[in-house]
Each structure stands twice: as structure tokens, then as C-alpha cells.
Amino acid sequence: MANMAQAIRMALHYGEKNLNLEHVFGEDVGPPLGGAFTVTQGLTKSWNSPLDERGIVGAAIGLAYANVRCVAEVQFCDYIYNTIDLLKIGGMSTWASNGDWPTPFTIMTIVGAGIRGSIYHSHSFDATMTHIPGFKIVMPSNSADAYGLMLACLKENNPTMYLAPKALLRVESEGLIPGEPANKKELKEMIDAPLGDRSKWKPRWPTGLEDATVEIGKGKIVREGEHVTLVTYGRHVLIARDVADKLKQEGISVEVIDLRTLWPYDWDMISNSILKTKRVIFVNEDTEVTNFGEHLLRRTIEEHFYTLHARPRLLAGAFVPGIGLADPLESASVPQASDIEKACREIVAERP
């Protein structure tokens, strides 16, 4: 199946053709590069912007005011922090105008560690972003969701923040996006720009791409389990899934929830799972202090305190200024499979 970069690219193509997507822009987003991660190659509405994140986010908000649909990319979330006041405005305009203005725009930014990206290519943005009301925030863990969540963003009448985990952009998932050719080599030849001179290259888009929207606000149970619930998103879904598969062989049954939408999140799914397993661990890689998982912990305690059979836990990134480059530094900074496995073993062993 398509890797995540190809899936997003096909979604944007679908948007250009069917969902009035008129502008896809950001640093290096247009030809010849088509995005630092090739996500925007071959699109007809993509163009390069100045190297100016404030201009990029401001332009997206303005296009929303003009009811012109766009996806604006900030190449790495590490560089989005100088746009915080504009993100606040983007998330606020409908509310500040007492409902007068819709603000349909999508910001896409690349997040997370996992590729040895050093201090300024490894940040996460979910903790900061979930502090900014007014957006709908999504983060896919596989290609089908990457495709479907982008379509959902393009249909929204509100600001959407699309967080793409950089470690997954080259990862192929199981299954096919409706309309995608089954042969991955064929897909690559159709929609991946060649190396070298691309001036005459044009993509051959799959003709049968369909609307496979993934509804915003709906999580997905990736592994069903009885003993403990793991709630996560992005690249840690894959890690949690592998841990669940390993522990299953030992008789420890782990339920893995891929949240998919960070805001507004699928509390019903989390809540029902906690009521079933009575044990929960929240996992993400953003820094642990005022982490989004802390909010989920708070809600768990307030609503399910007397149901829990073990203290709920949060596995998150260390509260350090950045992710160090050396292998041992990155591994010590963000949750690893071994950390998740250890936490699962401990929580199922804990008795009230």
C-alpha cells in the first residue's frame, strides 16, 4: 500500500479535483521539490512560499476569510512556534465574531522524533496545539487514515491542524486506499517524482480515487484487549501495537486505541475501554509537563476513579528542551517500546 507521504499526496490531489482545494503552499512545497518529504509532489495547485512561517499561517487565515480553501505547510513543527499568535487568531475568529466568520483552512506540519532529527527536527506539537482552542487537530498513524483525515480537514468549515508524524511518512501500511493500484511499484512510477530533472515530469494520478473520509473525532481500536488500555496516536500507535502483539503471547491482553483526532477527541471510546479493562496508560512523545495526556489522565481520574484497578499512567517525552541527536539521547527522551512494555506489565500486576 501507499506510504503516508503518497497517501497525503493523493488526498490533496483528490481535494484539488473534488473539494475546491485551490492553494497548497509553504516552503519548498511547489516544484521542483514538492515538499521536504515529497508530500506535495505533482499537485497542480502547489507553490513555493517565502521562508516565512508567519506569512504562511497568516495567508492561510486570510484565504479562509476569503472562503478560498487551502492547505498551508509548515515544514517542521519545530519552526511553527513563531506563529503562535496567528494560530490563536485562526482558532479564535469564529468565536470572537460571535459566530459570524467561518474559517476553513488547514495547516499541515511535520512532527515528532524517531528519525534522529536532532534538536530542531524532532519536536512534537500536540501538547502546545491542544492548548489552542478553535482548531480540530488530527494525527494519522497509517496511510488510509492519512488520506481520510486529510479529506475530512478539506471538508471542514473550521481551522484544522494536520500533524504528520515524520517517522511514518515513508512507512507503508496494510490495505489499499480506494482507487489505489495494488502494485506499489506501479504507484511509485505513477506519482513519485523522479530524481534529477523533473521539469517535464507529470504525475499519472490513479483515476479511481474515492472519498474515503475518516470522520474527525473518531478513534479506532487497533487491538482489542481485556487487561489494560493503551491510548496513543501517531507513530506510537505502531509501537503500542507491536507491544500488544508481543504481550498477547504471554497472556497479557492489551487494548490499543489510536485516537486519530486529538481535538475533539473520542472520549466515548476511551471511556468505554477503561470501563472494560479498568487500567489505562496514555502514551505520546511530547514533553510530559502540561502534556495532552495529562488532560486525559485528569478526566480519567475525575470520571473513573472508583472504577480503576490500578493508578493510571502517562508515558511521555522527557521534559527537556529538545531531543539530543545521539542514539542514547533520543531513546532516553521519548517513550520506547521497552518503556511501554514495562508499564503494561507493571499496571496489570498492580492490584487495588
Binding site: 492553494h23 512560499s49 517565502p50 516565512d52 508567519r54 506569512g55 499561517v57 497568516g58 495567508a59 492561510a60 487565515i61 486570510g62 484565504l63 479562509a64 476569510y65 476569503a66 472562503n67 478560498v68 487551502c70 513563531n82 499568535d85 496567528l86 490563536k88 487568531i89 479564535m92 475568529s93 469564529t94 468565536w95 470572537a96 465574531s97 460571535n98 459566530g99 459570524d100 466568520w101 467561518p102 474559517t103 482552542p133 478553535g134 480540530k136 468549515n157 473550521n158 475533539p264 477527541y265 472520549w267
Partner: protein
């Protein structure tokens, strides 16, 4: 101009009478802002002008046809405030029907959002333009530089009129202590952006300069940077007292003298006009005082478009 001045002075009185928590506005900018408001191609959507205003723009709104009582409603933060439903400060307008995007208290971010409507208006055949205004101090912010860069990209110029109303101060800080450039508008030259510096306290000068700039942007589909030297007659905001500042050039006094000298209006007629607005606005402010506050249970309304109540 008289109506706009009366409104600002009424809003200041409301603040001082405890009928509002904060005042900020634009008394002293009427000679520039009224002509601007009269030249707007008013309406909704790309074929009309988009306005990314800052908080000294009441005279623009009134010249476009806004009702003074609605500004008083925002001052008193009543539920019927049509611009924000009691959520925002005075003079923080928002009116989708007229392409007036929500005014923010953040300085200069409007120059970044203006880029977006400007891009939208590059569409073939589009006749609307984008107009953004702000003060001189805010031009130190990055978003002002952003607008210069984005509006002047080769082969992708944007139809944006960038206005800087230069009152020589950032709150209490004189511009001359912070800015080495002689004119803010000079920065346009480096980007190939046509620009001008004018006496914004003079109605005729403002009228013709605005006409030239707007015609240029509308027909050439290119940016123009217009710096208008204006006065700040009641200081920065209520935070600095909102008291009349002696020694500032008052554009209304100047225009009235011109009109009287030219025999267009007599002093008596002008005084009568002032009194008419004053009386009307006193009555309107009394009415606003009787209107209801928004209910606390509405705080979750409109976080998303069309959504009401707590959603999570």
C-alpha cells in the same frame, strides 16, 4: 467626521462613567479614515474590498454606514453587540457582510492575514482589493515585513493597500527613539512597492492620496504602501487616561476652519451638527445601558462555525 468624533468622545465618556471596561479608538484619524471608508467597495466576497483593520478605525466603519449605537453596544459589552456579542473591546469590529475581518488586539497580525485575502483576489477578473491598516509602532513586528515580502513577490504581486497611520507613538514610546528610518513608507521602496507619505490630518490631501492609491491597487493589481501622518487626540487608550492631549493637530478643527473660510458651512451650522449627533448619541448610550449582558452559559458557543453549547 463630526459623527465619528462624537462617537469616540461618547465611548470615552461611557468608559469614564463605568459603562465599559476599556476604551481604545481613533479620534484624530477622521480626516484620513472618513475618505477611506467612503471609497471602499463594500460587500461580501472576493469582488469586494477586504478590510483588515486595527482598533482606531471607527471613522472608516461609520463612513461605510455602521451605526454608532452598535459601537456603544460593544463598549458596554451587551449581548446585542453585533461585532462580538460582548466578547471584545470597543472598536474591535467584525462584519462578514462587509468583508471586515475580526479586529485583533495583537499588533500587526492583520498584515499577515491580509496576505491571504490578497492572494484570493489575484484570481482573474477579480475587482476587489485588500486594505490593511495599523499604526507606526507595530511596523517593527515581523508581520509587517511579511506583508512587504509577500505582496511584492515577482510575478505574484498582491492587490493590497497597506496603510500605516503614523501618530509618532507606540503607547508612551516616541517613534523617533526606536526607529531609524525616516519614513515607514520608505521600506516599500526596497521591495519595489509604490509608496507615499501624506499629511493624514488634511481631508483633501487624504482624499486624493487614497483615491490614487486605491485606483492603482484596483487597476494594476499591485501593492501600495501609504503612510498617513495623523494625530492621537486622546492618547493611546483608557490605560493612559483617555484625556484630551493638548498640542496635537486636530483634523476636525482644521477642516471646519477650511469649510468656514470657503463658505461651505457656517460655524453655527457646524455647531448645530455637532449638537445633533451629541444629543442623539446620549440617548443611544442611555438605551444601550438598559440592554442585557450576554449569558455566561454562552461561552462555548461558536468555537466552531454553527456550533452552540459545550461540545466535549
Amino acid at each position: 467626521m463630526v459623527k465619528a468624533r462624537n462617537l469616540e468622545e461618547r465611548l470615552i465618556r461611557m468608559y469614564k462613567q463605568n459603562d465599559g471596561y476599556f476604551w481604545i479608538g481613533g479620534p484624530g484619524e477622521e480626516a484620513f479614515n472618513v475618505p477611506l471608508g467612503m471609497m471602499i467597495k463594500k460587500g461580501m466576497g472576493l469582488d469586494h474590498d477586504f478590510l483588515h483593520l486595527h482598533y482606531r478605525s471607527s471613522a472608516i466603519m461609520l463612513a461605510m454606514g455602521a451605526e454608532p449605537i452598535d459601537s456603544m453596544r460593544q463598549m458596554k459589552n451587551v449581548a446585542a453587540d453585533p461585532y462580538s456579542g460582548g466578547r471584545n473591546f470597543a472598536n474591535h469590529y467584525s462584519k462578514r457582510e462587509w468583508n471586515v475581518v475580526p479586529v485583533t488586539s495583537t499588533i500587526e497580525t492583520q498584515y499577515a492575514t491580509a496576505i491571504g485575502t490578497g492572494i484570493g483576489q489575484t484570481k482573474k477578473g477579480c475587482t476587489g482589493i485588500t486594505i490593511v491598516n495599523g499604526g507606526d509602532a507595530g511596523t517593527a513586528e515581523g508581520e509587517f515585513a511579511s506583508s512587504l515580502v509577500w505582496a511584492s513577490r515577482p510575478d505574484f504581486n498582491l492587490p493590497i493597500l497597506m496603510i500605516v497611520t503614523n501618530n509618532q507613538y507606540g503607547i508612551s514610546t516616541p517613534a523617533c527613539t526606536q526607529h531609524g528610518e525616516k519614513n515607514v513608507a520608505d521600506r516599500g521602496t526596497a521591495f519595489g512597492i509604490k509608496n507615499a507619505v501624506i499629511d493624514g490630518n488634511d481631508v483633501e490631501t487624504s482624499w486624493f492620496a487614497l483615491k490614487e492609491a486605491i485606483d492603482y491597487v484596483r487597476t494594476e493589481r499591485k501593492p501600495f504602501l501609504l503612510e498617513a501622518r495623523v494625530s492621537r487626540l486622546y492618547g493611546h487608550s483608557s490605560a493612559s487616561g483617555a484625556n484630551f492631549v493638548a498640542g496635537e493637530d486636530d483634523c476636525l478643527v482644521r477642516f471646519q476652519n477650511q469649510l468656514e473660510k470657503a463658505g461651505v458651512l457656517s460655524r453655527k451650522e457646524m455647531d448645530a451638527l455637532h449638537e445633533t449627533y451629541n444629543t442623539k448619541m446620549i440617548e443611544e448610550s442611555k438605551q444601550v445601558k438598559q440592554e442585557s449582558m450576554p449569558s455566561g452559559d454562552t461561552i462555548y458557543d461558536h468555537i466552531y462555525y454553527g456550533q452552540k453549547g459545550r461540545y466535549w
